[in-house]
Symmetry: C2
Subunit: 360 residues, 2 copies
Amino acid sequence: MATLVVLGSGIMATALATPFTDNGHTVRLVGTHLDREIIDSIQKTGIHPNLQLKVPEGTEAYQLEDADKAFEGVDLVMSGVNSFGVEWAGEQLAGLLRPGMHVMALAKGLRADDEGNLEILPNVLANQLPEELRKQVTFSAIAGPSIAGEVAVHRHTCVTFTGKDQQVLDMWKELFETDYYHVWTSTDFMGIELMAATKNCYAFGAGFMHGTLKRLQDEKVAGWDSPYVNYNYGAAIFGQASIEMQEWLQLLECDPQTVMGIAGIGDCFVTSMGGRNVKVGTLVGEGMTFSEAKAKMPGVTLEGATCIVVVGKALKALTERGVVPAEKFPLLRHLYEVVGEDQAVDVPWKKFFGTHGDGR
Amino acid sequence: MATLVVLGSGIMATALATPFTDNGHTVRLVGTHLDREIIDSIQKTGIHPNLQLKVPEGTEAYQLEDADKAFEGVDLVMSGVNSFGVEWAGEQLAGLLRPGMHVMALAKGLRADDEGNLEILPNVLANQLPEELRKQVTFSAIAGPSIAGEVAVHRHTCVTFTGKDQQVLDMWKELFETDYYHVWTSTDFMGIELMAATKNCYAFGAGFMHGTLKRLQDEKVAGWDSPYVNYNYGAAIFGQASIEMQEWLQLLECDPQTVMGIAGIGDCFVTSMGGRNVKVGTLVGEGMTFSEAKAKMPGVTLEGATCIVVVGKALKALTERGVVPAEKFPLLRHLYEVVGEDQAVDVPWKKFFGTHGDGR
């Protein structure tokens, strides 16, 4: 039986202990400096306070200062920190990893340089390691529609494990797969991670349909009192998102088919159904600026909004350099106007969908 | 200014009077024999009883016996009947159409022969006309995410007009497009109609996530009392639906890109958000057989369920003939088991998504 050590004890990292321990394996959760109370709670009561659930049998919890002990005798590692902590996690792992170990990364997001070159987070993580060590460790990642709490209570969940090495992916799949946690594998590492990151951007836009509806009801715009909602609006946003997600794949020379199925459209669907991203998108749809909406949600990490700023700035740079035509990515550009420049929501419908409704 | 005569006065046909009359044109709604009370109500009060709204200025209503009068001096025709009435509508139009007229069809669905050859409804409609007349009339269709009531109250809606003749599509677009009703055009007539029909099948499956959740709460399955729902489940169904919708396009030699954007993924999104299809899918997810669920909704037309039977039977025939491999379309095959054979919901997750999570 295997042991997995997890750096970070957020809800997703902890939820994945459920399928892993269901297969008879053991998990060692190592809290970050921000997770002190979580680890305390698990050590004392077995309860993860944010997940509101008891962690499964076979899960041990360690404070950060005991990380060395948690890493003893283990060669499977998960980086469970969120997108804001990837560099920190990489620095920690630089001191904890040994040659031959396998790392699975959970954070979704992108980094970009001033020229608009985008980098996926597993690479950002790996780049914190000394080059010699980096070559002797494998990096993989999990993508796909998985609300953490659902995984933790055995709800059917379909995900993609991605990385460059098919054998390593097969090993991870074997360790995690159960009769409710269904795993596929893809070696389009950059493509899958692009989907995982950009879907968070577009889900922010899914909030607009709710917010716009509330605003026209508040303002008693003609028809406001009809029983009808705003799904046509949301469907158009979702449809354009699917097109732009495929265009990201094409732009970065990934496989355009990666948008189909689990990691692209499936994940965008679940992310558009709710969560913090959609919530703040809703507030902005109601008429607040993004800055005002954000101030209403103090202490809440908004990975989607952060990713919009990264990708929106990259798009500007790529357009200035002539790499991307100005008419491409109208939805992402508008999301950046809203989030990065505090502009009002004013969806550029007529710029959507190319000529034929399918992006061309 | 133009005049459009509409055969059928259901909610979608009537809702489309809103953008058309907003452009200064006139609409003549002709009720079918089933629409007598609707036409009565519009004639007396201006209210469409099912839409619960006043029809817009510039809309006139006619009983079926006055169809000849309604068709006088008009060359734009819409067939607004639903998928069950297409043959009937074609027979009526055979006596009402004249050479040079343009027909726009709204019904979504498919017909199949015993060998599994699928036919789109605008062709079924056209085939009711004498061959000589048929050649002198154009047929187009509207697809894309549009809940009728939302169109009727000016909510943003993006649709695709499809047909074989780009000039005719441009004419229709010019007549209908407004600042809230956004129109794209595609000449992949069969592909767009395939999307419009199959998305109704897959939306039925979207109900399973709600029903399955309710069942496990009712049965107090471990974790039933957690705050978590079943979105991972729904996202996987939606992701597999997107893959199968693209495979339908490939099978019938349509453009695989047609699944992207408005008419495929966008429309599947809005249809999966609610409606009769999802409702009955929910009941089946709770544990009823389809026959039991249907009996709970007397008088309700279930176009999605009907389409599942047509397409499911066609799939069987196509598989027997060796045209489609048995491992393709696992979701549609299961939907047919549920709807056509009254079997219990038991989603074949492991058959989904090909090897890499994207259908391949």
